[in-house]
Structure formats: structure tokens, C-alpha cells
């Protein structure tokens, strides 16, 4: 090395910047391509060589809304994912609190048991759950999806909240108890402010998971309670070349959650340690 340390550092930075951007653009390319496609005509979409510059059209979006009632699917997605996240947090938070601060011999076993329920493929429970939904008249209802989403996210939520609570020193809680705080006050004024980051990131992750859930949505819902995941599946039938419309529908299905994810990524990252970092 003949160059001064300073210029070699600059060269390193340039190299790192280049490599980072290269891989990022490579990984983001499919998504960017999808977004471009959505604004093309069907003919432009399959042109050889691929078109990068063209006059964008909004035609596809109109057609998707007309052919299949996008807004109704989107509304179902919003309701089911928000409701299952709130319900899940309401169930998971007290349980995680109790596990983290009143640790017993069985705490770890319970946690592992919870996670193991998540490892059975959903398809294994398909027949029983389907039959039960039919019996209770909940087939193709948002209620059924909310219950199923909540239950399948619950183990992960308990796990995340548990590791989040565990990072809070229990001395703080003991001090507040000494000062005569009731359980509610302790929860509301001491614990929650400290656990807010973890709570937000748990909620965000579950929102994303529920929004994107495809298996149960495809099998338990149809036109009435279908979420955006089922709308997209209906565009997968191979009727001719329809990539522009498919792209438009896909973009409309993922845009809300992707944009939401972009804005909340800082919060998401904060709590995504799963107890792995001390």
C-alpha cells in the first residue's frame, strides 16, 4: 500500500457503498419491476427487450377495481389484520408479563410448548378448522379469519413480548410496588412506557403477518370476507397474458403494508431481538 491511510479509507467507503447499493438494487429489482409493470399496457408489459421508459397508464388500476371490488377486499384485510393484532396483544401482553416477572420452573416449558404449536403446518389443521367453521356458521366470515390469525400469531407475540419484558429490570417494578402502586398503576405507568418499543414492534410484525396470511384466507374465505391475498390468487389463473393487470392488482395489494412497513421500520427493528441481544 503506497496510498495514505486517509485515501485508502475513502476508497474503502466507495467500495462498500458500491457493493451495498449493488446488492440492494439487485434484491429490490423484482419489486421495482412489478411497480413499473403496473403502469404499462399489456403489450408493453411483454415487450422484448423489456421497456424501461414508456408513457405510464392508469388503465390497469381502473380495470382491477372494476373487475373485482378491490376496496371491499382491502377493507377486509384492514379489519382482520388490525383486529387480530389488537386481540393478540391483549392476550399476549398479560401472559408475557406474568412469565417474565413471576418466573416459575415451568415458564420455559410453556414458552417452548407455545412455539411448538406454531410448527405444525396449518394444512394439518385444515380439515378440523374447516369443519368447525362450517358447524358454527363462520365460514367466509371476518370473525373466523380474525380468530385464526390471532391464534396463529399468538405464540410469536408472547415470545416477543416476553423477551421484551425480560429486558426490563424487575427492581423498577418492585420499587413502584413498594411505593404503593396498584397492579394497574404499575402496568400503566411503569411497565408500559418502558415496554412501548417492544409492544409496537410486536404489533407491527403481527400486522404484517396477518395482512400477508394466505393459507387460511384462501381456504376459509370467499367473496364476502376475502382479504387481498385471496384477491391476488384469483388473478393467478392462466387466462392469456395479463401481466400488467396482475401487476396492478399486486401493487394495490402490497402497497399499503409495504409503505406502512417503510414508515415503521425503525420501531420494527427496535423490538425484533427475540431476546437474542442483551
Amino acid at each position: 500500500m503506497t496510498s495514505s491511510p486517509k485515501s485508502s479509507m475513502t476508497a474503502m467507503l466507495a467500495l462498500r457503498t458500491f457493493v451495498a447499493w449493488f446488492f440492494t438494487l439487485l434484491l429490490f429489482f423484482p419489486l421495482g419491476w412489478l411497480a413499473l409493470m403496473a403502469f404499462k399496457t399489456e403489450l408493453q408489459a411483454i415487450s422484448v427487450p423489456p421497456l424501461f421508459v414508456f408513457t405510464p397508464t392508469m388503465e390497469n388500476f381502473h380495470e382491477v377495481q372494476e373487475r373485482s371490488d378491490y376496496l371491499s377486499y382491502a377493507w377486509n384485510s384492514v379489519i382482520t389484520s388490525v383486529a387480530s393484532t389488537i386481540l393478540g396483544l391483549a392476550l399476549a401482553t398479560p401472559a408475557a408479563y406474568s412469565m417474565a416477572f413471576f418466573k416459575s420452573k415451568r415458564t420455559k416449558d410453556i414458552l417452548m410448548w407455545m412455539l411448538s404449536t406454531k410448527m405444525m403446518p396449518a394444512v394439518g389443521a385444515l380439515v378440523p378448522i374447516y369443519v368447525m367453521a362450517q358447524w358454527s356458521g363462520l365460514l367466509d366470515s371476518r370473525t373466523a379469519l380474525i380468530i385464526v390469525f390471532t391464534m396463529s400469531n399468538l405464540p410469536i407475540m408472547v415470545w416477543m413480548m416476553y423477551s421484551n419484558f425480560k429486558d426490563i429490570p424487575s427492581e423498577i417494578l418492585e420499587a413502584s410496588r413498594m411505593d404503593g402502586a396498584t397492579l394497574y398503576q404499575e402496568f400503566r405507568h411503569v411497565l408500559m412506557p418502558l415496554a412501548m418499543g417492544g409492544l409496537a414492534s410486536t404489533g407491527l410484525l403481527c400486522l404484517v403477518l396477518s395482512w400477508n396470511e394466505a393459507f387460511w384466507a384462501l381456504n376459509l374465505s370467499a367473496a364476502k370476507s376475502g382479504t387481498l391475498a385471496t384477491l391476488i390468487a384469483s388473478y393467478s389463473s392462466p387466462e392469456g397474458l395479463f401481466w400488467a393487470k396482475l401487476s396492478a392488482a399486486s401493487l394495490m395489494a402490497i402497497a399499503p403494508i409495504v409503505v406502512f412497513g417503510w414508515f415503521s421500520q425503525k420501531q420494527l427493528i427496535q423490538g425484533l431481538t427475540f431476546g437474542a441481544v442483551k
Binding site: 462498500r16 457503498t17 451495498a20 447499493w21 440492494t24 434484491l27 429490490f28 429489482f29 423484482p30 419489486l31 412489478l34 409493470m37 392476550l91 398479560p94 401472559a95 406474568s98 416477572f101 420455559k108 410453556i110 417452548m112 412455539l115 411448538s116 404449536t117 410448527m119 405444525m120 403446518p121 396449518a122 394444512v123 394439518g124 389443521a125 385444515l126 380439515v127 378440523p128 368447525m132 391464534m151 399468538l154 397492579l183 404484517v208 400477508n212 394466505a214 384462501l218 391475498a229 391476488i232 401481466w243 396482475l246 399486486s250 402490497i254 403494508i257 409495504v258 406502512f260 412497513g261 420494527l268 427493528i269 427496535q270 425484533l272 431481538t273 427475540f274 431476546g275 437474542a276 441481544v277
Partner: protein, 286 residues
């Protein structure tokens, strides 16, 4: 604070989760022991282990188990190695780091159905797909990915989805890396490789365990990507256990055999869980 309250707080989550597990399990065990084909409602009755025998001796079975493990192993390997690489790459500031981070994690927010269709049509189509055109540009013969390399194609799609997740976890973990320690090691003349070997990798150990655990949970039951792209084919080349059960349940309408298969999946999941508890449980106890 008495001993009753902690249990009371745990009760709702545990009870609902227990019901969510036990009711389908009992029903599945029952269905697996009877003749239960939706297309032949007149054929009923207890048949013992016949359904299990049918499921396990099905030639697709071995292939499905192999594919499940191959899919799981490959994706975990790709995402852990790639994720660590990407996280290290963007750990230190550089121009556009904020934007890079946002773009990088985007695929994680994409729903599996969209992911699958996007790759199936716009990337991997042998005529109009982007990959085919890149191949052609370099004078190579375009590959018909989904027909010739079905399982590999599914591995690519699933890895694309989960790489950002792994990267996110590793970014989070790197944030708590001790800067003083790194600086000190640099002063002492440690090379980057030495830092990687003795500082970064040990620090990321528990995060790796967590990524493996979470991905295992989700990847044992990959479904949408297979359902929307290859349909398990050609033949059984990209059928995993979850998809095989689905085939029995909804393509042959044989709920009995599907239930037997589901119980097999439970056993597989429990083997994985035991493995996990050994690996992760120990790691997270500290």
C-alpha cells in the same frame, strides 16, 4: 402479590392456545382412524391405521419429506449467510444508508402470493421473463425455471422473502455491538477477518439461533409459494409435506388420509421442536 394472579394473567393466552391445539388434534386423530372421503360419503367406519399406511407408502411421501428438509435447509443457509453479509455491509454509515435499509427490507412485507406470481411470471417466465432476457442478452439459452428446477425456484422465492427478515434481525443485533471493543481490536492490529471471526460472529450467535428458530417455524409449512407456482410439480418435484397433505385433502378429497398426514407433520414438527429447544433454549437461557 399472591401466587394466584400470575396464573390468572397467563390463563387467557394459554387456554385459548391449548384449545386451538387440542381440539383440531383430537379431531384429526379421530378422522385419521376412520374412512372419510368427501367424494364417497357412503363409505364410513373405523379402519385402524390404514390411512397412515396409505400416506406413508405413497411414493410421493419420501420425495415430500426430502423436499421439505431441502427447502428448509437451503433457505436457512442462504438467509443466515446472506443476512449476516448484508447486515455487516450496511452496519457502518455510507451515502444513502437509510434508503438502502428501506429498500432492502421491502420484500419481507410482500405477501407470499404476490411474491410467487411475481417470480413465476415476470422473473422466471422462459420467454418474457426478465431472467430469460438476461440469459439471452449474454447469448445463453433461457431456462424454464419452474419446469426444470422447480424446487430450486421455490427456494429462490422463499429466500427472497426471508433474507430481509434475517437481515433485520442481524442489523438489530449489530446495533448493540460494542464500538470500543471493535476500536480496541483495530488498534491492536486485528484484520477484518479476525474481527469477524472473534467479535462479530460470536456476538451474532444468539441472533442466528433466533433466525433459525423463526424460519423453521414458518418454513416447515411453506404453502402459498408452491400452490401458486408449480402446484407441487412437475410430478412431485416441488411437493413438500404440507402440500402433499393439501393434495390428499383437497385434490383427492380424502380427509382421512390427509389427517393421517397431518399427524405425521405434527411428529415432524415435534422432532424439529426438540432439536430447537436443545439449540435455542440453551442459547436464550443466559
Amino acid at each position: 402479590m399472591n401466587r394466584f394472579l400470575p396464573r390468572l394473567l397467563m390463563a387467557p393466552a394459554i387456554t385459548t392456545l391449548f384449545l386451538w391445539m387440542i381440539v383440531p388434534l383430537v379431531m384429526t386423530i379421530y378422522f385419521s382412524l376412520i374412512r372419510y372421503n368427501l367424494m364417497q360419503p357412503e363409505a364410513t367406519g373405523f379402519i385402524g391405521l390404514e390411512n397412515f399406511e396409505y400416506f406413508v407408502t405413497d411414493p410421493s411421501f419420501g420425495e415430500a419429506v426430502k423436499n421439505t428438509l431441502l427447502l428448509l435447509g437451503s433457505v436457512i443457509l442462504i438467509t443466515v449467510i446472506g443476512g449476516i453479509g448484508l447486515a455487516l455491509l450496511i452496519d457502518d454509515p455510507f451515502p444513502g444508508r437509510g434508503l438502502v435499509r428501506i429498500l432492502l427490507i421491502s420484500p419481507f412485507f410482500v405477501m407470499p402470493t404476490v411474491n410467487a406470481l411475481l417470480w413465476k411470471h415476470m422473473m422466471m417466465n422462459p420467454i418474457y421473463g426478465v431472467l430469460a432476457q438476461v440469459w439471452q442478452f449474454f447469448g445463453a439459452t433461457p431456462v424454464d425455471w419452474l419446469t426444470d428446477f422447480p424446487l430450486f425456484s421455490v427456494i429462490i422465492m422463499v429466500s427472497w422473502q426471508w433474507l430481509p427478515f434475517a437481515t433485520l434481525i442481524f442489523i438489530t443485533a449489530l446495533q448493540s455491538m460494542s464500538r470500543e471493543q471493535l476500536e480496541a481490536s483495530r488498534m491492536d492490529g486485528a484484520t477484518y477477518l479476525q474481527q469477524l471471526r472473534y467479535l462479530y460472529i460470536p456476538h451474532l450467535g444468539r441472533s442466528i439461533a433466533v433466525v433459525v428458530m423463526i424460519e423453521m417455524i414458518f418454513l416447515l409449512s411453506v404453502f402459498a409459494e408452491i400452490y401458486t407456482t408449480t402446484g407441487g410439480g412437475p410430478g412431485d418435484a416441488s411437493t413438500n409435506v404440507a402440500f402433499l397433505i393439501f393434495k390428499h385433502a383437497l385434490l383427492s378429497f380424502d380427509a382421512g388420509v390427509a389427517s393421517a398426514g397431518a399427524l405425521f407433520a405434527v411428529v415432524l414438527a415435534n422432532i424439529a421442536a426438540i432439536f430447537l429447544i436443545r439449540m435455542v433454549g440453551k442459547n436464550l437461557d443466559k
